[in-house]
């Protein structure tokens, strides 16, 4: 268990360092467009993707940097992508909301809420039909479950017995709206089971150990042919919806309580119990260095060649 925790702590530290630099670079006007960072949600990315193999595939959302890093995308190439450079994962053509690295199974972030979920189901179907042994994970926010895409994707996954795990990151808000205010009826897990998923479980999304445990089980069961399932990870984003959003719609006390439960601090406690507290600081220090280098490399990288604007249209 300890090796996994150490790996996840390393991943979380890397995500945190990455996202902090993204937020800063955005504030400084070095990253264009808009960015949605996942600070506060690192344990979900680390725990879930930690349980995956390289051949496994994920689809993610507008808030996808953490998932991509955790799945193995290169931080330097990702940073370069956000900076709009030729050396980016997508040659500067995708950007934050479309970051992808198919070589490590990242089939893409998505700017359309819900769109990634059926894509993951299809990737899982392909894995099943081609007997590749891979599984797929669909990351989505809790605000996404009202969309038709969610409903249709779960229906198809169960019907096709597709090896896919749905991971709902419940960070309480969808943009500026309290998701509780939009919720009626049975809780998500109950509804998910109604579709015929093999299992649906809620997990503390700020506790990497808990996430990894649930993920390992879900991934193994799904890979073994046990059918699709869902995890709801309860978490919180420390920043606003996008960088620049002051998040005034949130309750300060609630935010403070969640900051207390920063996943890195939760991990620190877990490490402490194992007598390995130092590992976190070491991981963070290493991550700071790695991500400083990523930023420096991105800054130094050339913009995409103009002719690339008309390349890869339609394949």
């Amino acid at each position: 268990m300890s090796a996994e925790l150490l790996a996840d702590v390393t991943t979380m530290a890397r995500i945190r360092a990455f996202e902090e630099r993204v937020a800063r670079a955005f504030r400084d006007g070095r990253i264009p467009g808009f960015v949605h960072v996942s600070i506060g949600q690192e344990a979900v990315a680390a725990g879930i993707c930690g349980a995956l193999e390289r051949r496994d595939m994920i689809t993610t959302t507008h808030r996808g940097h953490g998932h991509c890093l955790a799945k193995g995308a290169d931080a330097g190439a990702m940073m370069a992508e956000l900076f709009g450079r030729a050396t980016g994962t997508c040659g500067g053509k995708g950007g934050s909301m479309h970051i992808a690295d198919p070589s490590v199974g990242v089939l893409g972030a998505n700017g359309i809420v819900g769109a990634g979920i059926p894509i993951a189901v299809g990737a899982a179907l392909a894995a099943k039909l081609r007997r590749s042994g891979a599984i797929a994970v669909a990351f989505a926010g809790e605000g996404t479950v009202h969309s038709g895409a969610f409903h249709e994707a779960l229906t198809l996954a169960v019907l096709w017995e597709a090896p896919v795990v749905f991971v709902i990151e419940n960070n309480r808000f969808a943009e500026f709206t309290d998701s509780e205010a939009m919720w009626r009826g049975a809780p998500l897990l109950e509804r998910a089971l109604g579709y015929g998923l093999a299992a649906a479980e809620r997990v503390d999304g700020n506790d990497a150990v808990a996430v990894r445990g649930a993920a390992a089980e879900a991934v193994a069961a799904t890979r073994a042919g046990g059918g699709p399932r869902l995890l709801e990870a309860m978490t919180y984003r420390h920043h606003g919806h996008y960088e620049g959003d002051p998040a005034a719609y949130r309750d300060e006390a609630e935010t403070a309580a969640w900051l207390e439960r920063d996943p890195l601090e939760v991990a620190r406690r877990a490490l402490r119990e194992r007598g390995e507290e130092g590992a976190l600081d070491a991981a963070r220090a290493a991550a700071e260095e790695e991500m400083d280098a990523a930023v420096a490399a991105a800054l130094a990288a050339p913009p995409p060649p103009l002719e690339s604007a008309l390349e890869h249209v339609g394949g």
């Binding site: 467009g33 709009g84 909301m97 359309i112 969309s147 969808a174 709206t177 913009p303 249209v313």
Partner: protein, 332 residues
């Protein structure tokens, strides 16, 4: 701020909110729906203050379920409301096109006038700020191709106000396409300029050398190109802001081209199979034997909109691109 601010003409986005507020105040049947249009006042502030003023029953925050929300708005319109529903980005039309294209646009016709369809679909576009391929599309051609839909594309704050109010008053379905890159702009002649109805183009700038037809943000790009420090300074262009694609004021365009002898249609949408093709073809059909000069189009190149600023600038039309196209037009 303060007094000064209060007496200045409204920004485009404030003109939208004002139009909605005035309609909500004037008619109890008007309701506003969409993701974050309520307490948050809209992703760009276009519904700011309305929730406080008119309450959650009339300014309705919805879940992320656009197809359902738009379908419901269609039903509400048939049952007596005048819903104004927001699609946050025009790109999201892809998830909710059926209520617009197969329902709202067709029901009045399919029922031979048996139902009224007083519904407004507000959305916005606006490339050029690295929003990425799924948040940058101008899809007005898709809408204008569907009989039964009106399509309004206000190019400044005055039109944002007038066209939106006209849309809400219309008993048929209207899509209003705003442009987020204009949201902070003010029309300095907001109070002095007479409102124009939909279906009437506006001569933004009279001239004799050539006609440029545009709408939305491209109107502004042309104006910039023609400014004293712009790349077309001194060129005597006539600029026609179409304002609405459906209904289309072809007559104003034709009269202008008759005068200038050449025409360029500029839009942010992709050129290929884009809205400019219709305008160009219509001009040619009307004036083939009357004008000598070429009829040209300038739109986005045929790619998804790239993220990196340099690439995006290479793909989307701007003042410099317009200047180059106008020069080619004058030589052609």
């Amino acid at each position: 701020m303060g007094d000064r601010e209060a007496t200045r003409p409204p920004r485009y986005v404030e003109a939208v909110a004002r139009a909605l507020g005035d309609e909500l105040a004037a008619d109890d049947d008007v309701v506003v729906l969409g993701v974050d249009v309520g307490a948050a006042g809209g992703a760009y502030g276009a519904t700011r203050g309305l929730h406080e003023r008119f309450g959650p029953a009339r300014v309705i925050d919805t879940p992320i379920a656009e197809a359902g929300v738009l379908g419901a708005a269609v039903g509400a319109a048939m049952a007596g409301l005048r819903p104004v529903v927001e699609i946050m980005y025009m790109d999201f039309l892809t998830v909710c096109l059926d209520p617009i294209v197969n329902q709202a646009a067709k029901l009045p016709y399919m029922t031979a006038g048996g139902v009224r369809m007083p519904i407004v679909f507000r959305t916005q576009t606006g490339g050029g700020r690295s929003s990425g391929a799924q948040h940058s599309q101008s899809l007005e051609a898709v809408l204008a191709h569907v009989p039964g839909l009106k399509v309004f594309l206000p190019g400044d704050a005055r039109d944002a106000y007038d066209l939106l109010r006209a849309a809400v008053r219309d008993d048929g379905p209207v899509v209003v396409v705003e442009n987020r890159r204009l949201y902070n702009r003010r029309a300095e002649d907001f109070d002095s300029r007479a409102p124009l109805p939909p279906g009437r183009a506006r001569i933004v700038r009279a001239g004799t050398a050539a006609t440029v037809v545009a709408w939305g943000r491209m109107v502004d790009e042309v104006v910039r190109a023609c400014a004293d420090d712009g790349p077309l300074a001194g060129v005597d262009l006539e600029l026609v802001d179409l304002r609405t694609l459906v209904p289309l004021d072809l007559e104003t365009v034709v009269q202008s081209v008759l005068k200038t002898g050449r025409a360029l249609v500029v839009h942010e949408a992709v050129t290929a199979f884009g809205p400019g093709a219709e305008i160009a073809a219509r001009i040619d059909e009307r004036l083939r034997y009357d004008v000598e000069g070429p009829i040209r189009r300038l739109g986005a190149l045929a790619s998804p909109v790239p993220y990196a600023p340099q690439l995006e600038a290479a793909v989307l039309p701007d003042a410099d691109g317009i200047a180059a196209a106008v020069r080619a037009l004058l030589e052609g």
